[in-house]
């Protein structure tokens, strides 16, 4: 009997597929004539503030970056208090794991002036600077945030990417400096030691975050990371390259250095203060050093993106977290540098030992040695990042 289905031969199928693919390719490339710029302005992406009628906020933050109840991890005391006090419901999502990844996630919406569904997002200085530069961030109303005006640390005011303090408000800050494991090595005091001491060879890591690593190296050369020239950058990069070529630096890392530092696979590294405090609780031999030449100060900043429809609510929340008592409660849990003046006094009541910890409440001497990395324009950012990536191998 004759089969009703004419068998599709493999050849026929292939020809068909290839043919239609070719057709599509032509059509597609004709249509694919470039992309629009991502530059926006706040005015062009104006959105209505529905705060008065909709008592809610969507808040995106990093994991483990807020206080939780000791008995019930799903309860967040400071946030629950805020909800009780103001009646504003907060949808708190821990969906930021990496600045670059998060940028990839929201860039299509922000580029097209459409809503990301988020009212507050928390991003690191350089990413905040990039988004501000692209015009993706709404101006905040300072008169609605008196606590911020009064209490933000002086070294975090008038930062280059936000000279009028109205676009980005620090959530937590931190230092980038040197960490070492005292069980397996003696003290490491300077960047030069870290990059050249023979007994550390192959057991040193640096951060893959350009601004942290390069900022420290610039300082070790006696240059100012808040204001440097291209030649000075190249100098510092050469220094780094020598350490990579000689095998002194084992690798470049994100957060993942902390387990290896604890195990002793890494004996010393460029590290973030918050991680080192956490490690120090388990093993007091792991220490953080602020090199004599200076440290880098960075912040993760709360920002309200374009088309977020609850700006006034967001301002209320930001203001709430700048109340010293609340800030101390938060700092006691997250152990980063608290950007709120007066929180130290409030901390004495919660945990006097933490109040004395210079990595949560740095003294003036330490703050005077700390620098915020220069704000880069798009071309500089791309050039420097490309050069840096070349040295770190990717």
């Amino acid at each position: 009997m004759r089969s009703p289905l004419r068998p599709l031969s493999r050849r026929g199928l292939l020809t068909g597929t290839l043919g239609s693919a070719a057709l599509l390719a032509t059509a597609g490339t004709l249509a694919g004539c470039g992309t629009k710029g991502a530059q926006q302005t706040e005015a062009a992406c104006k959105s209505d503030d529905l705060s008065a009628t909709e008592k809610k906020i969507a808040f995106s933050n990093w994991p483990q970056y807020i206080d939780v109840d000791e008995k019930n991890e799903s309860k967040r005391p400071t946030l629950d208090d805020f909800v009780k006090k103001t009646g504003i419901q907060v949808t708190y999502t821990e969906d930021i794991n990496d600045n670059n990844e998060f940028f990839g996630k929201v860039q299509n919406q922000l580029k097209d002036c459409s809503s990301t569904g988020r009212d507050i997002m928390v991003l690191t200085d350089w990413m905040a600077a990039r988004m501000i530069r692209l015009g993706w961030i709404q101006k905040l109303d300072k008169s609605k945030m008196p606590n911020v005006e009064a209490n933000v640390l002086p070294s975090l005011r008038n930062r280059a990417f936000d000279p009028d303090n109205q676009l980005a408000v620090p959530w937590q800050s931190g230092l980038s400096g040197i960490a070492y494991n005292g069980k397996v090595t003696k003290e490491v005091r300077t960047i030069d030691e870290l990059l050249t001491r023979p007994d550390l060879k192959g057991k040193v890591t640096a951060l893959s975050e350009m601004r942290d690593t390069m900022g420290l190296l610039l300082q070790s050369n006696g240059h100012d990371p808040a204001n440097f020239t291209a030649a000075q950058f190249d100098d510092a990069l050469n220094k780094l390259k020598k350490a990579v070529d000689s095998g002194q630096i084992r690798k470049f890392t994100g957060n993942e250095y902390s387990t290896e530092l604890a195990k002793g696979d890494i004996v010393a590294c460029i590290a973030w203060s918050g991680d080192v405090i956490q490690l120090g609780f388990d093993d007091e031999k792991i220490k953080f050093v602020t090199p004599e030449s200076g440290v880098m100060l960075w912040s993760d900043n709360m920002m309200v993106p374009n088309k977020a429809t609850h700006k006034a609510n967001a301002e209320e929340l930001i203001n709430y977290y700048y109340d010293p008592a609340i800030a101390a409660q938060l700092a006691a849990y997250v152990n980063y540098i608290c950007p709120v003046k007066g929180a130290k006094e409030a901390m004495v009541k919660i945990d006097p030992e933490l109040a004395e910890n210079p990595l949560i409440f740095p003294d003036d001497e330490m703050l005077s040695k700390s620098k915020v990395f220069m704000a880069l324009d798009e071309k500089q950012e791309k050039d420097y990042e490309a050069k840096f990536q070349q040295v770190i191998g990717a």
Partner: protein, 303 residues
């Protein structure tokens, strides 16, 4: 049946079947193909086209100003020049990993298929079980195993296979071991499938004809397992070459593979044209290797 397949469509010498019958069935294969084709078009063909277009954008464009389409074919040459060592490294690492995996995977698949008896299903589950946990977790576990202060490195130092300061973590060895481990099941499962169907009577016949076990293996078992071997090596080699997790977690910048470069081009350096060009170069290189391999291996059934 074969003869019928060659009958030209439409009007032929033989009388066409009644139109109503034909009409009802003629579109059926295409209708059945529709969901798959639509899926492939939306999630494979369109993104691929987009990527192809992006690889030809003007490299001096940027995120804020946008990219102009300038048919910049030079992107390919520039990207290749800048990163050819990473291409070479990717292929060398995954080739070594493939050889290691074959040495371990073939006996394993053979054992499960032919010798395991009632333990067969349990052993198969053991091969698949690691896949129940995430790829990342498995790779991170290797960090603990290969740790400088772990038992493995300690042992190797004691028997002087490693110097007193030698290490495994953050070396090419670690990356190749990670690749071998992570993709081994993709090689074992197809091999198992073809070895399981191996007819034992053929081996008996071979030995009746005075073939030594080795010769019987070479002339009977190996050729019969070729389809599984080819499918398995492809399933192993293609993802292993594009992998970047192993190099990132177990290696250092000196071990970075082409996947790491593409990752950084798209996410960190925001050089979309270069990232797209590198992706296409990788695809082209893999396709070329696969075609040569299939020609040499000579099985039509895989494609």
């Amino acid at each position: 049946m074969t003869a019928l397949a060659h009958v030209p469509t439409g009007s032929g010498q033989s009388a066409p079947p009644p139109a109503s019958r034909r009409g009802r069935y003629r579109l059926l294969p295409y209708l059945l193909l529709l969901p798959g084709t639509a899926w492939l078009f939306l999630f494979f063909a369109l993104p691929l086209l987009q990527l192809a277009a992006a690889s030809l954008y003007d490299p001096s464009g940027s995120l804020s100003t946008g990219y102009a389409m300038t048919w910049a074919f030079s992107n390919y040459w520039d990207a290749f020049q800048a990163y050819w060592p990473h291409f070479v490294r990717s292929f060398v690492y995954s080739a070594i990993a493939l050889v290691l995996a074959l040495l371990m995977g073939y006996p394993l698949a053979y054992g499960i298929a032919q010798k395991a008896g009632r333990w067969k299903n349990l052993l198969l589950v053991c091969v698949v079980a690691p896949m129940f946990t995430s790829f990342l977790v498995r790779t991170l576990a290797w960090k603990t195993i290969l740790s400088d202060n772990g038992w493995l490195v300690g042992l190797l130092r004691d028997v002087h296979l490693l110097g007193p300061d030698g290490r495994l973590l953050a070396t090419p060895v670690a990356v190749v071991l990670g690749l071998t481990y992570n993709f081994l099941p993709f090689l074992v499962l197809p091999l198992y499938a073809s070895l399981e169907r191996l007819d034992y009577r053929l081996l008996e016949a071979a030995s009746d004809l005075y073939a030594s076990p080795l010769r019987a293996f070479r002339r009977v078992t190996l050729p019969l397992s070729m389809p599984g071997m080819i499918a398995g090596t492809l399933l192993f080699f293609i993802p292993a070459t594009g992998d970047y997790i192993n190099a990132e977690l177990l290696g250092t910048p000196n071990e970075y593979m082409i996947g790491n470069v593409i990752d950084s081009a798209f996410l960190v350096r925001l050089d979309y044209p270069q990232g797209a060009a590198l992706s296409f170069l990788l695809m082209a290189a893999i396709l070329a290797i696969v075609f040569v391999y299939l020609r040499k291996a000579g099985t039509e059934e895989v494609l």
